[in-house]
Each structure stands twice: as structure tokens, then as C-alpha cells.
């Protein structure tokens, strides 16, 4: 559908409405005809998935807020489920135990293939006991003592890869701006940063790691942190940022001082948000593998182990965050 939408320059929603013949929509006859013509030209075939014994996959997630990442978690689960003939019922629980139990009451009264228990922000969780009665996979969260398979991003390896990229470009003084310290991903990426430096026999210089900020807004943190780093008597030539939004703040700090990215300061972000390709210069960053994680979680759920949720069957997987090389990294001057 996205191929058709791109070709015509209309939204995917429009394409979907036309191809699914949705009633009560206000799409002009002309657009309708164009969509149908391109669909035929591209050989689009509406996929008909057989329904699976009336079962659904339940998905509990703490929240969905404004982060775009959650979209790929939800869509990955939806697509892999659909490919296996299931629909997904998503319930937001705010992570509150009472809400979770109410959600499980609701879902477990129906034919249920299993539960994807997901978190918006990667963290350790304590899922409700009741989940033991039903096949369950943890998505973007983990629970060491629980018998469930889980999948999270490889944040440590991501931090290591980001820092190695800067080291290989020739940088030796590399700053890091962390996320909020309670965020596990931030601690893991910082650990990756430290280990990558160690692998190059460079000791971590605490003055180069900024983890306390006066603002909670990522963009403001990036601006503040970069200013602090650049004010140092011996400032870094490169900085690794916990997230793209922080990196965007660092861009602004650099430009307001008349510094050029990457000539005077190399910057690496994390998350590969949509805007990161549009920054000037386009930001080198890492992608969160949410789609692959979500698909893995559904596949694991449907694999039908002999003893669902047996601790011995639990697989605890991390999936790497691939580097997206753009133009914000250069050799130091």
C-alpha cells in the first residue's frame, strides 16, 4: 500500500480506504480511480489471511505517548500477527497492576492465543502472576526471574558501536550526553561508550560525560550539555548523544558558537527519528530494531513450546541497533 501511496503522492490511509472499499469516506472519484489504476499496475494483491480458530493475540502496553517508536512496536506485532492469521487486541494499562488485571480478565474470557507484554520504555518489569497461565512474551522489557521469553534492543552494543565509529574516525576526546539516569537504555549506552574507549586504551574522563541537566526536554538538554562540553579548557572533538533530539540541541549549540558540524564537532545520535535525516548535515545515528523485536516476539509466542512459560524454554534476546551512517562524523581537525 505504501508503494501505491508514494507513487501517487497520497496518504497511505487514502489508499487503504479505497482498496478496502470503506464506506462513508469522502474520496473523489478521480482519486479512487487513480489508486485503483496504480494498484493494478503494481500488481497489488489484497492479502486475505485465514482466521485462526477465532483466537486473538492480546497486547498489554503501559503507554503509547508521543514517541514514534511505539508505532513500530505496535505495527510489528500487528503485521506478524496478521501474517499468521491473528488480529491483535491492544490494551493500554499505564503499567498499573489493577488495570493489568482488569485487562487480563477481559482478554482471558476470550479465545486467546497468548499475550505480548510490552513496555514503551525498555526496563525491567514485574508482570502479573496471572500471565503464567497463558503463553506470554515480553517485548521491550525483561524480567530476569520470570519464566518468559523476552526481547530488548542491544543498547550496550549500540553505545559501543557509536563510540567505536568516532574512535575509528580518529577522535580521542569524545563526549557523551546521557539520558535520564533512571533509564536503563541510557546506562547501557554509557557502559558501551566506556567499554569502547577502554578497548582503545582510553580512560573515561568524567568531565566529558554529561548526565545532569537543568531541563527535562531533550533538545534543551542537548544544547546545555554541548555548551558545557565546549566550554571545557580541552573540549571534545566529538560527542555521542543518548538520543537524536539531544543531538539536535548539540547542533544548535555548535552553530551558535560558529562551529561547523562535522568539521569542528562530530555528532552521533540514537533512535533514527524521522527528522534526523533532514538535519544539516544529516545525522549519523542508530536505529532501534523495534520492528524486528516485535516480529520476533510474535513468532516466539506462536512457536507453541511444549510447556509455555517454562523457565527452561525462556529465551532472552537482544537485537542489535544498526548504525545509520550519514554526514555528521568526520576526522578531527
Amino acid at each position: 500500500m505504501s508503494d501505491i501511496a508514494n507513487r501517487l503522492g497520497v496518504s497511505q490511509a487514502t489508499v487503504s480506504l479505497v482498496l478496502n472499499n470503506a464506506p462513508g469516506t469522502r474520496i473523489s472519484k478521480e482519486t479512487r480511480a487513480r489508486v485503483l489504476a496504480v494498484a493494478e499496475e503494481l500488481g497489488y494483491q489484497k492479502t486475505r489471511f485465514p482466521q485462526r480458530n477465532g483466537q486473538v493475540i492480546g497486547m498489554l502496553i503501559d503507554g503509547v505517548t508521543t514517541s514514534k517508536h511505539v508505532a513500530s512496536l505496535l505495527e510489528g506485532v500487528r503485521d506478524e500477527a496478521a501474517a499468521n492469521g491473528f488480529v491483535v487486541a491492544v490494551i493500554q494499562t499505564m503499567g498499573m497492576p489493577e488495570t493489568e488485571l482488569a485487562a487480563l480478565d477481559y482478554l482471558m474470557a476470550r479465545p486467546l492465543a497468548g499475550i505480548i507484554y510490552a513496555s514503551l520504555i525498555m526496563r525491567a518489569v514485574k508482570p502479573p502472576e496471572r500471565l503464567r497461565e497463558i503463553p506470554t512474551v515480553l517485548l521491550n522489557c525483561h524480567a530476569a526471574k520470570e519464566p518468559y521469553s523476552s526481547v530488548i534492543p542491544g543498547d550496550f552494543a549500540g553505545g559501543f558501536a557509536a563510540t567505536s565509529l568516532l574512535l575509528e574516525a580518529g577522535h580521542r576526546r569524545i563526549g557523551m550526553m546521557t539520558g535520564e539516569t533512571w533509564i536503563e537504555a541510557s546506562r547501557e549506552r554509557l557502559r558501551g561508550y566506556s567499554e569502547a574507549l577502554a578497548a582503545h586504551d582510553i580512560a573515561v574522563d568524567d568531565s566529558l560525560v554529561v548526565s545532569r541537566f537543568s531541563s527535562a526536554i531533550p533538545f534543551a538538554r542537548g544544547r546545555e550539555g554541548a555548551n558545557r562540553l565546549l566550554d571545557l579548557p580541552n573540549p571534545p572533538t566529538a560527542v555521542f548523544c543518548f538520543q537524536d533530539r539531544t543531538a539536535a540541541g548539540a547542533y544548535e549549540a555548535a552553530y551558535s558558537r560558529g562551529l561547523k558540524v562535522p568539521d569542528d564537532l562530530s555528532i552521533v545520535g540514537f533512535d533514527n527519528e524521522d527528522f534526523s535525516a533532514s538535519l544539516r548535515p544529516p545525522l549519523t545515528t542508530l536505529t532501534l530494531p523495534h520492528d524486528e523485536m516485535a516480529r520476533w516476539a510474535v513468532q516466539r509466542l506462536l512457536e507453541q513450546p511444549d510447556a509455555p512459560n517454562a523457565a527452561s524454554n525462556a529465551k532472552r534476546l537482544k537485537i542489535e541497533c544498526p548504525v545509520v551512517s550519514r554526514q555528521s562524523v568526520a576526522a578531527p581537525k
Binding site: 494483491q45 492479502t47 486475505r48 489471511f49 485465514p50 485462526r52 480458530n53 501474517a83 499468521n84 492469521g85 492465543a113 542491544g154 550496550f156 552494543a157 559501543f160 558501536a161 567505536s164 558501551g192 513468532q299 506462536l302 512457536e303 507453541q304 511444549d306 532472552r316 534476546l317 537482544k318 537485537i319 542489535e320
Partner: protein, 361 residues
Amino acid sequence: MAKDAQSSHSNARWRHGKPTMTDVARLAGVSQSSVSLVLNDLSGTRISPDTRLRVIEAARQIGYKVPSMRGNAATGRERDVIAYFLDDISTNVQTSMVLEGARDYAFEQGYVLAVYVTRSNGESESAAIAAIKRDRSVIGIVYASGFLRRVALPAALDLPVVLLNCYDDLRQHVSIQPNYISGMFNATEHLIQLGHQRIGFINGEPWMDTAADRLKGYRQALATADFVFDPRLVRDGDWLPSSGYQHTRDLLAHKNPPTAILCGNDQMAFGVLEAARDAGLKVPEDLSVMGYDNQDLSRFSRPPLSTLAMPNLELGQRAVEALIDIAVHGKQPRALTIKIEGPLVPRASTASVRAMRRMIA
């Protein structure tokens, strides 16, 4: 049926379905054909009374019942043929092993397999389909491929279909496949658990699905162990020993060479062993080597090769099982794509990094 045996304690090992003739043969320590001769009470065979007793005892112990008990003569059942489409029977040994798994399981369930080798040729397939349609005893089709790939199914198959070692884009049918992702994950994890941190990977031809899946499994295992994927340690081979040989020379020339080399198949691993020998390296003292697919020869290499087995017999069995479930019992399997893992076969070509150091010292 063998339901009553399911509760017996000794049967707990047969978790993946009912015990098979192969299980009986293994337990009795005799060939499968001996088991078949005894349990089917075939006349004119020269089986010693002792063997006969052992087989019957083994069958009783694990609750195996001869399928012919509910055979056609008794029920007058007419639909007892499964059509098995195969693109090419000589692609590799695994193809015939998978077929054997299907045949054995079908036989145990009271079905015969009619095999059509079509080379995926349209005319050949059409002819086979026409033949099947004339034959009302066919319950459905197992559509198999010699290697995992996407297929375009012939039109107008109005019988139940189960795909084996292949899949179609529309995902209309159940597909049984080997799990190359978790297989290579387990192989890589084996080396990581032995303490290896730099693991070279000689993969197969990159255009093949199975190679892409193997790479995915390798990368997932690295990420799970907090290792950074280093593309310089990965080479695209061509499944043949010569490419294992060449790429090993190349990997060993690296300034920080790997301590272990993992291959997409056993053949390439044989090439690695040879390259190590030519470089004056001992396996596993200086280099751990691991294959994938557990070919017959892998037991006899020097040293015997650690590898990962393909679940060939189980693939065939699960395909027939799914087809019977769908066609006869009207029961859909839980997932449309069922991926099956094979077990790790650790032999002498892999050692822990610590043991390597000790052996060197």
C-alpha cells in the same frame, strides 16, 4: 490409538507427538526395517525370536502401536494417499531425509505417500495435479522444496496444501521450515559460551534466504552477548569447501584474527579445517571450527566437527502431521509458519578459549 500410552512415564520423552518406529528401533537397538517386519508380522522373514521379543518389548515400553491396526481393510477408508510434490530429489541428502520423515510418519498414520518430482516445471506440475484430481483417495498435498525459498504455487489446487521448506507470499497455507535463525543463534552462542569473542563467520551465498537467516541468527547471538557486530569477520562463501579454505586464509591474515570460525554448512567447515592445517594451526587448540547441517562426513573429519543438525526427519513428519490435521480432522495448527530447530552437535573441533590457552602452554 496410542492415547492410553501417553500417560505412561516412559513415554515422557516423546513430547513432539507419538513415538515412531524409529524410536522403537533405537530403543531395541535394531534397524527400522527389523521393527517394521516384526510389528507388521510379515511372514517369510528370518528374524530371531530374541530380536522379535526385544522389538515387541520396546514398542510396549514406549507405547508404540502399529498403525495398520486402524488400516483400510478394517474401516474401508478410501482416502489414504498424500501427494508429495518435490522440485528436485537430488539437490542434497537432506531432501531425501525429509522425504523419509514424511513417509515414515504417513505410514504410521495409515497413509501412503505418492511422490511427484516436478523440477518446479509448470507442465510437469499440471500433469501431476491432473493425476491427483482424478484420484479421489488423495487427502491433500505436501508441497516441498529442496532448499528454503519462496514459491509460486500452481493455480487451482483445491485440496488442502502444506508447504514444506518453502513459503508463498500470500501466506494462505501452513509452512513448515527449518529454523536457520535460531539454529545459527545456538551455534554462535555455543562458541560465545566457550569464551570466544572474535568469531569469524563464513556464510553461504547471500542471495539465498537461508544465508540471510543464518546471518540474522549470528547477529542476534552477538547482540544478546553484548558483542558488536564486526562486518570484517563475515564472508560470503558458496557452500563449497574451497570457499571455506580461501576465506579462512583471508580471515587468519587479519591483524586481530578470530579465535573461532563458524560456517554456514559443514562442507565449508571442511575447507576451514584444511586451511588451518596448511597454516600450521591445530584445531581446536589454536582455532575452534564449527559447521552447520551435520552431514554424515562430519563425524569423520579430523578432528570430528562440531556442528548443528538439521531437523530433517521432523520436518517431514510435521508436514504430514499438519496436513492430516487440516484435511482429516479440520484442525488448523496454531501458527501459519512453523519453524523447527535442530539440536547442537558438539564434537572435538570446538574448545573453550581457556582450554585453548592451556593446550598451547
